[in-house]
Amino acid sequence: MTPSKEQLHWMYETMVTSRRFEETIEKIYLEGKQPVFNMASGPIPGEMHLSNGQEPVAVGVCAHLEKGDIVTATHRPHHEAIAKGVDLNRMAAEIFGRATGLSGGRGGHMHLFDPEVNFACAGIIAQGMGPAVGAALSRKMQGKPGVAVAFIGEGAANQGAFHEAMNLAALWKLPFICVIEDNSWGISVAKKDSTAVARNDVRGAAYGVPGVYVEGNDPWKIFEAAGDAVARARAGEGPSLIEVETYRLAGHFMGDAEGYRPKGEKEALFARDPIPAMRKRLLDEGAADEAKLKELEARAEDRVSAAIDFARSSAAPAPEDALTEIFA
């Protein structure tokens, strides 16, 4: 399965949107945090996990998803949220902790929830697995269409929740896909120091589920693998497991000194930045000309600045609203 031109344009634009969004967030995050870096300060407080470098996974998978399909994301959710179509204005406002945010500032960047596009997060490692499997079960029981995708990190594949949810999904033959973003690090711990096998696709065998490993952080290959899995799921043939080689260009979170990285790793990763690589290939293969790319990039920029403006100009929540929306 290869992406159509339109799909490629959407993928590229979405990747650029996510990147520009994070570049902007990154700058604003540091406002008020210099010279002394204190997480509590500035317009965007708290932890900030950037996903730059990992955009191909989000777009390669979400290119196949509809609004009604379900995604659960992790502590590093921006690229996935944007690719799934979460409202960018309200997402930005949430990250800024504003009243107009997705949850009115209650959740913040690790807890982006948008029922409009069936998007949810879990800040606890691997805990998006169960809810995604459950949503897939719900669709199957209701006889409604829909595929549920849980995105997790490669470090999360060593958590019990991964195992339990994979077994459930396979046992009940659910329209579920587990996508593992293998950025080779779980904070400072390398995959080889945490995972007894080199690649998690082999873990599919433990559930009788097809497992695929996609190399090279390549949007085309990811699109293909995800396409197969989504088709399988929609056809009622059960779950799939996809692990994707990807790169975390930034630290685990902002403020991470990244002392654990081997020398030269960062430089090597930047040399393989997937966005310029995709740009080049689109041009080379004639899938887009310079003008088209500029147009996509401009649209991405515009969406990002509109979102940031929306967030910046939104009001802060009323303090006492901390105690609302606890129960339904």
Binding site: S103, F113, V133, E164, L168
Partner: protein, 339 residues
């Protein structure tokens, strides 16, 4: 109600009846858990359901509590109303994240936009020598954490009405049923738990404690199995002319502090009976709720009759020593009078 109209159910049957009635009218309701289909639940509370509703809606699971409780959260967010069973409350440690960090908080994290209408039913309590990993109540553990309602019926009437209310609630409800009240013969059974239970569906409102026995001299506050101990102790105390009032909390979250305070304001004395561990739990909260409201109402230091801060022992002699009992409540009254 008159004898002739009486329809005594066990709590187990009352729970199953409530679930069945809701399943008949709402196709979104389904049940998930270990041994809840063919077996009908280790504690009988899903008996008969698989025969009526089949294995899709009455769904046995693998021994994967994190997986299936997490799945219930996802299904609830997607429009279903799962009733899931954690076989023993003691097992919460293998799956609590799905409960307290997902089920209980996703509504808040989504600013109220995701509803998580699910019921987590789980058994509590000891008294039959099942030892320290199968006898705990853990009421305080569940009630301490925000975002989930916690209910603890002491009789079949409440059990049915609370289950119906729990299923219809758009918020997650932890429904804790005490094994000794289930009416399963093999667990022994407190006869007082099997009471008249209307056939038609009805709800029991959460957050309303109930004065199950009126009195003047001392308020005994308890929940679940403890209510029956309290009633027995009250009957005993009455023989010596003491008039105890017994309050059944019925729900821990929301906690009906008003009813507790009103009763203690009347009697001036308070005994809390709780089969959960002593410290940092229900008993401390009940006492604090009274005195922080008004220190002038108490005529004697409040007393607690609780499980001590120790793992629950197996041997009968030790376990009986360990657990609350009517005799210990009578003793607490004695200490209170002596003080």
């Amino acid at each position: 109600m008159t004898q002739s109209n009486e329809r005594k159910l066990t709590i187990a049957r009352a729970m199953a009846e409530a679930i069945a009635q809701e399943m008949r009218t709402d196709p979104g309701v389904f049940v998930m858990g270990e041994d809840i289909a063919t077996l009908g639940g280790v504690f009988g509370n899903t008996r008969g359901l698989v025969e009526e509703f089949g294995r899709e809606r009455i769904r046995d699971t693998p021994i994967s509590e994190t997986g299936f409780i997490g799945a219930a959260v996802g299904a609830a967010q997607d429009g279903m109303r799962p009733v899931v069973e954690l076989m023993f409350a003691d097992f919460f440690g293998v799956c609590f994240d799905a409960i307290y960090n997902l089920m209980a908080k996703n509504t808040y994290f989504s600013g109220g936009k995701f509803k998580v209408p699910m019921v987590l039913m789980t058994s509590t309590g000891g008294g039959y020598s099942d030892a320290g990993q199968h006898s705990q109540c853990l009421y305080g553990t569940f009630a301490h954490l925000p975002g989930m309602k916690v209910v603890t019926p002491s009789n079949a009437y409440d059990a049915k009405g609370m289950m119906t209310a729990a299923i219809r609630d758009d918020s997650p409800v932890v429904y804790m049923f005490h094994k000794s009240l289930q009416g399963m013969g093999w667990l022994g059974t407190e006869q007082g738990a099997s009471v008249h239970t209307p056939e038609e569906d009805y709800t029991v409102e959460f957050g309303k404690a109930k004065v199950v026995r009126e009195g003047r001299d001392v308020t005994i506050v308890s929940l679940a199995m403890g209510v029956h101990h309290a009633l027995k102790a009250a009957a005993e105390l009455e023989k010596s002319g003491v008039s105890p009032e017994v309050v059944d909390l019925r729900t821990l979250v929301p906690l009906d502090r008003d009813t507790i305070r009103a009763s203690v304001a009347k009697t001036g004395r308070l005994i809390v009976v709780d089969e959960d561990y002593h410290s940092f739990g229900v008993s401390g909260e009940v006492i604090a709720s009274v005195v922080e409201h008004d220190i002038s109402v108490l005529k004697a230091a409040p007393q607690r009759v609780t499980a001590p801060d120790a793992p629950i022992p197996y041997a009968r002699e030790m376990e009986q020593f360990f657990l609350p009992s009517p005799a210990k409540i009578v003793d607490a009254w004695g200490r209170m009078k002596a003080a």
